[in-house]
Each structure stands twice: as C-alpha cells, then as structure tokens.
C-alpha cells in the first residue's frame, strides 16, 4: 500500500467507472484512493468518519451495550441518523452490491475517509489500537448485516477461497462439531478447516472445535477469519502509514488537520501529576475519595499485608497517578509488607516492582495508571483481589461489602441492580453519588478521574448550583480518554 499524497498530486483522476472500483458495500480497503480531492471535502470526510467511530465507542463503553447485540447496532444506526450521516447508515444497515449512484458515492466516501483516518491515527500505539478496535467493530457490524448472496459476492471479489471439509471427515467428527459450535443444525452447515491462529477470538471463547491445530468453523463464524485478517492488514498498514507520515506532512495544510483530529482525541492519561499526596492520608482518602476497586485493594493490603502482582500493579499505578511520590510509595509498601516478611525479602522481591511502576527499572517506561476498561478486561485469578469489583465480585459479596460500608439500602439496591445488568461503570458512578451524597451521574472511565472528581467536590471546586453544566463538559472529555485504552483483542 502506498500512502503518498496522490490525492493531492497532479495525476489525472482515475474516477473511471465507479462501479468497477466499488463493486460492493463492504471493502477491505486494500487499495488507497488516487483521485483529486478538495481540502474542504478532505476535512468533512475525515470529521464524519470520526463521528462514526466515536459513535461505536460510545455504544460499547458509555452505554454499556453488548458488542454486536441488536441494541448496540440500533443505537449506532440511530446515532448516525441524528448526526445526519445517511450514507454511513446506508452502508451499515444492509451491505449489498447495488449500483445506484447513491450507493457508489457512499462507498467512495467510506473508502477515502478510511484512508484519511489512517494518517491521523497512525501516530502512536495508543491511537492505532483505538482505531483498529473501532474499525473492526464497524467491519463486523457491516458483515453481520449482509445478506447471503452479498456474502458470496464479497468472498469472490476478495479472492477468499476456502474449501469446506469432506463429508467423510465431517461425519467422523460430527459429534464434536455439534458439541462445540452453538448452532443446533450442524448437519446442514458447511464447515471450513483453518489454522487455529486464524480464529483466535473463537478459540479464546471456546466456541470452536479444535483438532490437531486446526479449527473447524461453521459458515456463520467465518467472520472471525476475516476480521483476524483484516486486523493484521490494518496493523501493517498503519505501521506503513506512520513511516510515510513525513511525506504527507510536507503539506502544512494537512498537518494541522491531521494533528488536530488526533489531539482532540487523546484525553488525560493521568501520567503527569501536580499535587503531592502524603501517604498518611491514604486511609482517610480510601474511604472518602477512592473508587471501590482501589478501596478494596487498600483494605486488602492493610489486613493481609500482602498483595499479588496484579493488585500491586493496579493499586501502585493509581497511587502514582494521584500524587504519591516514589519515596512515599516505597515506604508505604514496605511498611505493610514487612509486617509479614523481613525487610531483606521486601527489598529484593518487591521494591523493584515499585520502582518499575515509576519507570525506574526494566524498560524504564513511565507507566500510566489503568483505565476502567483495562481493569474491567483484566483477568483475575484465584487469590487475586484486583480488577473491577462491579465486574469481578459476585453480587452477594458486593452487597455485603456495601452494606458493611454503611450505605443505605436503596443505594445498595440500585448499585447491585445495575451491576447485574453488566453496566459496571454506571454502577461505579452510582457508588460515587452514594458515597458523596450527590446526584451527579458522572461518566466514570478512570479510577484517577474518580479520585479527582471526588477531591474537587470535597474541596468545593464544583459549586453545587452550577454542577450540571460542569458535568456535561467533563463527560465529553472523559468519554474520550476511556476509549483510548481499548484493548486490541475484544
């Protein structure tokens, strides 16, 4: 793929026949566009695509809708309609291979906009991850809404030839196929055989039959193979785009726009701290201003005088983020740990870890505190006490803990109710309201944001009468930094 700025060059536009260039609503974006484009259109297309991707992110992170569920799709389509992006609605609602002018124009815009955003989002690892995650969601959504004949055409156009397994082979493993795939009708489904690493998401969820390194996937799950390929393709393309960024940015008209796009989308990552928090205040703060995940870790540490690696990482980075200095942090962990082990052991086995968090050891990276998304998606194993309590605790245990903290029953009931529905971040926001006796309904996306909001409230930075206004603004910013941390594998 070549990302030179051909669309700005003087080459003759190869508009040719749009039907030939864009035969299908869904594309894998293999060939970059080469036509001329006005700056105005360049900007509009870029911004519109950003709106589209943002809508996807909001559906998943803020609204807490399950990925690819019906409500999820409905929300996105509705949002696009209100934003006036009819051509994206058209592409997403029913992918097909129509040849009307409106179809072709929509595909052309989709194609160009995708390539513009590659340039805006290839700058950092974080941005790249966010972009890939969103584009993949979009791709899956569009594939899911595609009709049978359109799917066949799509396969043909993209040279995807996979042969299904022979009847003999199928009969031999019929029993297992029926067990491992969630479709009742295994007898009448076509099965394909691919290497297991082509369908990692199915392997991960134990939703596919594996034998000897091959995954046997039913026709319907084929999207997994495609999206894995698409992901790899995007990853490589973004790396290449980043490489060619210098050439693109010789045109200063583009620089401002491309950089602007990205800047408006990197929220606070809490890696630089202004205030200094003395560790003596942590006990009080843990009750007043900690989100539940951190309060739980803090209390665990105080009672058990020990914490497993995952917890040390999550809590340690949070502490760094709220303004505990390295020296204090070392002292804090040392004081607790040495209650059950000798100083020597702590210095050898755990002090490294603390310094590592502050970027003083190992690869010496200045690690940023974990966002809610990262915490929610973390694996929590036996003996671990980190993670998001709304996600990783059983409702009963959670309930007991909240009652133990002295919350009133109505509040506890509300929190548990929302937790059970799987809206962990909204539950956290309820917890915030309950523990501060307010009704703000903040969008919580980061434990450190929770902490800052709480401190502001306590110190009276947010005046009660104007709180509504402030919250709205804050919400918008937060929504962005939460999604930046999205994991590449969903």
């Amino acid at each position: 793929m070549d990302l030179n700025i051909k669309r700005k060059s003087t080459k003759t536009a190869v508009t040719g026949s749009l039907v030939e260039t864009y035969p299908h609503d869904l594309q894998m974006y293999k060939i970059p566009p080469t036509e001329n484009l006005s700056l105005k259109e360049f900007e509009t297309l870029a911004l519109e695509r950003v709106v589209l991707l943002r809508s996807l992110a909001t559906a998943t992170t803020l609204k807490g809708l399950r990925l690819n569920s019906e409500e999820w799709t409905d929300y996105i389509l509705g949002d696009l309609r209100t934003q006036g992006l009819k051509y994206y609605v058209k592409l997403c609602e029913k992918s097909a291979c129509g040849t009307t002018d409106a179809d072709l124009q929509a595909r052309r815009k989709d194609h160009i906009a995708h390539f513009i955003l590659r340039l805006a989002y290839c700058r950092t690892e974080e941005l790249r991850r966010w972009f890939i995650a969103r584009e993949l969601e979009l791709f899956k959504m569009r594939f899911a809404t595609m009709r049978g004949d359109a799917i066949d055409t799509f396969f043909r156009l993209n040279n995807l030839c996979y042969t299904d397994i022979t009847d003999e082979e199928r009969n031999e493993i019929m029993h297992q196929l029926r067990e491992c795939t969630s479709y009742a009708n295994a007898e009448n489904t076509k099965f394909y055989k691919v290497k297991f690493y082509e369908v990692l998401d199915l392997v991960k969820a134990r939703k596919v039959f594996l034998k000897g390194g091959y995954a046997y996937i039913p026709h319907k799950d084929f999207i997994s193979v495609l999206s894995a390929q698409y992901r790899t393709h995007l990853k490589q393309s973004l790396a290449k785009a980043c490489h060619h960024l210098g050439e693109v940015e010789q045109d200063e008209r583009l620089v401002a726009l491309l950089k602007g796009l990205h800047q408006s989308y990197s929220g606070n990552d809490y890696s630089s701290v202004k205030a200094v928090i003395p560790i003596e205040t942590l006990d009080t703060l843990s009750v007043k201003s900690y989100p539940l995940c951190m309060r739980q870790l803090h209390e665990h540490l105080r009672t058990a005088h020990h914490m497993k690696h995952g917890g040390r990482l999550q809590y340690g980075l949070f502490l760094k983020g709220i303004g505990v200095t390295l020296e204090d942090s070392l002292r804090f962990w040392r004081e607790e740990f040495t209650k059950i082990m000798d100083l020597d052991k702590f210095e050898k086995q755990y002090a490294y870890n603390v310094r590592y968090n502050y970027g003083k050891e190992g690869s010496k990276r200045n690690y940023t505190p974990f966002s809610c998304l990262k915490i929610i998606n973390n694996t929590v194993g036996p003996g671990d006490c980190h993670g998001c309590p709304f996600r990783h605790c059983e409702p009963n245990n959670l309930k007991n803990r909240l009652i133990g903290y002295g919350f009133d029953h109505q509040a506890v009931h509300d929190i548990i109710d929302i937790t059970k529905k799987g809206h962990y971040q909204i539950a956290c926001s309820k917890y915030f309201d309950a523990s501060h006796n307010v009704d703000l309904g903040l969008g919580i996306n980061h434990p450190n944001q929770y902490f800052e909001e709480s401190q502001k409230l306590i110190k009276g930075d947010i005046k009660m009468d104007q709180k509504k206004e402030k919250v709205v603004i804050k919400k918008e910013i937060n929504d962005l930094d939460g999604i930046d941390f999205d994991e590449p594998l969903d």
Binding site: K204, R206, F209, L210, G212, G381, P382, H392, N397
Partner: protein
C-alpha cells in the same frame, strides 16, 4: 535433610554440579533448535547469583561459552528468556523478541483456597496429585486440540510444574495468540470476591471440557479422600457458597450438616440431592445444569498462571537448574510418569554429590532418567525442525 544449613554449601557444590551432572550439551542443543532460524546467541539467559543479584541479557554462542559462564558466575538459579532479533547482550535499543517457547506455569500456591493438606510453599504427596491432573489435562489439550508435539514437562524445583512447547508454530505465536490459548485452557476465573469461579453455561459442553472432566473423574474420589474438601465446617461452607440456587443450597446444607463427616459420603449425598432437586424443579435446571461439573473443575482443574503464558518474553527457570531453597533439581519428566513421581525421590544437589547419602543411588538413577527424558524431547524436536526446514521454501536456498 534439606534446609538452611545446606544453603551455605551452594557456592562449593554448584560448580561441581554444573561440570559433572548438568546436561549442558543437551540444553544447548535444545536452545539452539528452539531459537532457529535465529542463532543461539540471540537467546536471552538470566542468572540469579548469591544474595539475589540478577544478571539479565546474558548470551552464549555455543556450549563452551555456557560452560565458562557457569563456572565463572556460578548461578544459584538459571532462567531462560526469549529469542531476539539481535544479540541482546550487546545493544538492546531496538531489540524485539521474535520467538519464544509457549510456556505454562502451574504452581500449587494457587491451589491454597482448596487444598487442605498444605499451604503456601509446602507441598506433599497428597497435593502433588493436583499437578498430576494438571499435567495430564494440559498435555492432552496441547497435543489433541492444538496439534503440538514437542512438549517438555519440567518440575519447577519446589511446588509446581512448567511446560515448554517448542513447536515452530508455538514458538512464533504472537501475544494475542498466546493469550487465546491461555484463555481456552483457563476455566477457573475470578479472585477473592468470587466464590463460584467456574461457569460452563447451559449449552453443550465443549469437547475439550468434556475430555478434561473425564480425566478429573479418574482422580476425583481419591482427591476427596486425600483432601477431605467438605468434611470441616469451613469446607462445607465453601461448597455451599458455590451453589447458586438458594432452594438447592438450603436443602444441601440441612442434610450435609448433620451427616457423617466423610467428604466422599457428603459428595455422594450432594449428588443425590442435586439430582432429585433437578427432577422436581425443571425450570431451575438451566442455571445449574452443569453444577456438578463446575464444582469438580473448581476443585481439580489446573490453575494456570496465565500471565506467564501470555507474556512473550517472560523468564522461566531452566530445566535442570537447582532450586536454591530446596536444592532440588528441576528434572524433566514424562507426563505419563507424573503419577508415579515421588517428591522425595527427586534428586537434590546434596544427595547427588554426597556418596554417603542414603538417597544417593536412587537419586543418581532418577537424574539419569531425567536427562534421558530431556534427550528424547530434544531429539524429536531436532527431527521436526529438520523437516520444517526441508519443507520451507524460503529456507531451501541455504541448504
């Protein structure tokens, strides 16, 4: 016989162990083969010296250099890392890990909430059975589901086992791929806030889960007798907390509380209560369809340290390294022999080097067997690697 007093002997004994008993040659061949197509010198080794001084990014070009390095530094512990694109001991500015064996680490401390015989660093023949089950389940899954063939099983030196998969596909697997395999194999999820850690849903059981359950069934009764999971009030409470259905839970509590303390008997009557409850409450069945299976898994299924598997360049203790605390050798064993392995028959540094030790003869023999096991795996890996090169069109030019 193993204790702190022997700790002081390490500096004297280790050099002798490294020259006389440590299988340097086989280890180098294993590492060379496992690093291909990169040279052996791109592999990171790490030493832990006396007083926990870590030396990272050590490299060797050949067996001779390994020998010299071992003599010079006399490491108390030897770890193996990933294979880089350059020699990691020189410049690591833009060094990236290109490949690495797929590894699994199972440690008995993760079983603390269920095992009743020992806690923390302690381990006995009774809880070793957890490792036997873990080894069998993981080994089967790696071979049958993922088609891996070159699998090395190593005793970790104290209370766990390690598994190294050296197949080319496994070595070059990226992080998401490793993560997916780890998640595929990991059935026990959730930390301290979660009593019930296994959810199998209510659809069909995946065939790999079914296979694991068959393996567990072979040992379950034995484990019940050994561990007496449900005989104490505490143990019973833990079981009750796993039962999600309140009606069933109170029935179980009533009956089990009053009866004989034997876990086997309590388990039997639990199954009876469960079955009749399911017959009577057909609408509750969906939620607890696999409750029996879920409990068995929670009490017996391997508890993997997934972070070790997911990490691409996680350091892991080398085979035949000595555990500095126990003095035990990290021997290589065959999964089918895990069952007959006795903890006190695992050779220790002290008994191997002391002719007068009563265990000497037995430990010598076991050490030889372990080296032979290692050899077998390395030979088959070398064969597989040669085959791969012959079939790889990119490589054929060079050979």
């Amino acid at each position: 016989m193993v204790g702190e007093n022997n700790y002081n002997l390490l500096p004297d004994m280790l050099p002798i162990y490294y020259t006389r008993l440590f299988p340097q040659n086989i280890l180098c061949r294993w590492l060379t083969c496992g690093s291909a197509p990169q040279p052996l010198s791109n592999r990171e080794l790490s030493f832990t010296l006396a007083d926990d001084i870590y030396l990272r990014y050590l490299t060797i070009n050949n067996q001779k250099e390994l020998q010299t390095l071992l003599q010079k530094k006399c490491p108390h512990k030897l770890d193996i890392g990933g294979v880089y694109n350059t020699k990691p001991s020189i410049g690591r500015h833009d060094a990236v890990v290109l490949s690495r064996e797929l590894v699994f680490d199972i440690d008995l401390t993760d079983y603390d909430e269920i095992r009743t015989c020992c806690q923390e660093a302690k381990v006995c023949e009774k809880c070793w059975k957890f490792m036997v089950i873990a080894c069998e389940i993981i080994d089967k899954a790696l071979k049958e589901d993922f088609g891996f063939q070159n699998i090395l099983w190593v005793f970790s030196g104290r209370r766990g086992i390690h598994c190294w998969v050296s197949d080319y596909d496994a070595r070059t697997l990226d992080s998401p791929g490793r993560g997916a395999i780890a998640d595929y194999l990991c059935l026990i999820l959730g930390g301290e806030g979660q009593n019930k850690k296994v959810y199998l849903g209510s659809d069909n059981l995946h065939s790999s889960v079914r296979r694991s359950l068959n393996i567990i069934d072979k040992y379950f009764e034995e484990l019940l007798q050994d561990q007496e999971f449900f005989s104490t009030a505490d143990g019973l409470k833990k079981l009750l907390k796993i039962i999600p259905d309140e009606g069933l839970r109170s029935q179980v509590e009533k009956v089990l509380d009053k009866m004989n303390e034997s876990s086997v008997q309590r388990w039997m009557s639990f199954i009876n209560i469960y079955e009749s409850y399911c017959r009577e409450n057909t609408n509750a069945v969906r939620k607890i369809r696999y409750l029996i299976e879920e409990i068995k898994i929670q009490y017996c299924y391997p508890r993997l340290d997934v972070n070790v598997t997911k990490g691409f360049n996680h350091l892991l203790k080398s085979p035949f390294s000595i555990h500095p605390k126990t003095g035990k050798v990290s021997i290589v064993f065959k999964p089918k022999n895990a069952k007959s392995m006795k903890l006190d028959e695992i050779p220790t540094l002290y008994s191997l080097l002391d002719d007068s030790s009563p265990d000497n003869a037995l430990h010598q023999t076991n050490m030889r067997t372990a080296v032979k096991n290692f050899q077998e795996v390395v030979f088959s890996l070398e064969k597989a690697e040669a085959m791969r090169r012959r079939n790889d069109p990119n490589m054929s030019v060079e050979f």
